[in-house]
């Protein structure tokens, strides 16, 4: 699994890390049950603060893509993480694009509801 971040980008580093991990889960590079790299190791390798990595892990944990276990580190959850990660990643892209084009959250929700109806 490759995690790359761009220090010149306007996107915050924790979001870049979250996105890279989400993509890895979505494309099957990180299958269910596989461990994420230790936060310290990842932080040292990417030359970022460990809290930046932990924040990314916590976001993935809140999205149910990752389970954090005390003493065992972070693991990709077993419950079809790839399809969930794919949807979340696409929603993130949609939200980013909508913000750029000046849509507010209600308008985006309405559009999604309309499309799913």
């Amino acid at each position: 699994m490759l995690i790359r971040i761009d220090t010149n980008s306007s996107v915050p580093l924790f979001e870049q890390i979250t996105s890279a991990l989400r993509r890895a889960i979505a494309d099957g590079s990180l299958p269910g049950g596989s461990p994420l790299p230790p936060a310290r190791e990842l932080a040292e390798g990417l030359e970022v603060n460990m809290h930046t990595v932990l924040r990314a892990y916590q976001i993935l944990c809140a999205e149910d893509l990752v389970n954090m276990r005390r003493g065992r580190g972070a693991y990709v959850s077993d419950n079809h993480p790839d399809s969930r990660a794919l949807i979340i990643e696409q929603v993130q892209g949609l939200v980013l694009q909508a913000k750029r084009l000046g849509f507010n959250s209600d308008e985006v929700v309405e559009l999604i509801k309309g499309a799913m109806a």
Binding site: L2, R4, I5, D6, T7, P37, E41, G45, L46
Partner: protein, 229 residues
Amino acid sequence: MKPEQRKPYIISLIFLAATGSIIVAKSPNYRLEIGSVIVVTTFTSIIVGQIRARKYLSAPKKISKSDESQETIDLRPGERAIYHKRVTNPLLFVFSLALLGIYFYSGITPIELIGGLGWLYVIGGVSTITVHIDSKGLRVIAWPLKRPQRYVPMEDIAKAESIRIGRFHIYGMCWLPRRRAWAFFIRGREALEVHKQNGESLIVTITDSKVAAGLLNDLGSQRDPLLDN
């Protein structure tokens, strides 16, 4: 666990159950006979396997680069990246455990047991490895004992490439004298080969070896301007 992940365990369990049944069904003097047969067969297969692997991997026809150009992931200035992968072969691990059980059960002599355990460690001990690449270099760590480990600092790396290897070779960790390489053979087909400045190399079988090789090459070339200063 997915069905395809379960398959190696099921095969190994069947193997273990079948072997156990044979041992139990034998006469009271079976222990020494079975033990000797297992030890002789195992060591013969290791020696034959090692010879075959060395011959095989030193022959240019059998091991070939997947691409002539140097691998890259187009890492731009200002970009940072790491590669982290755990490679596992559950069949290797369970097979080693099964053999270990037979070793203990068959009542072989302590010297034979030590030799057998040594071999099992080389095979089973590296059935799962973690490959970690960052700007400092490449690290290969065996699970679960964290040994053996191999670390190649970035300044020692001359070049990294993705190579293709055959499916039939020895598994585990071995030294290939003709190629002057330490090799971690966990699976078949695809591997990362890291050439060191001193002419030695390190081979690790991973699925996306092109990405790993590309990252090492890019991180190495990013490092050069710093060294010139």
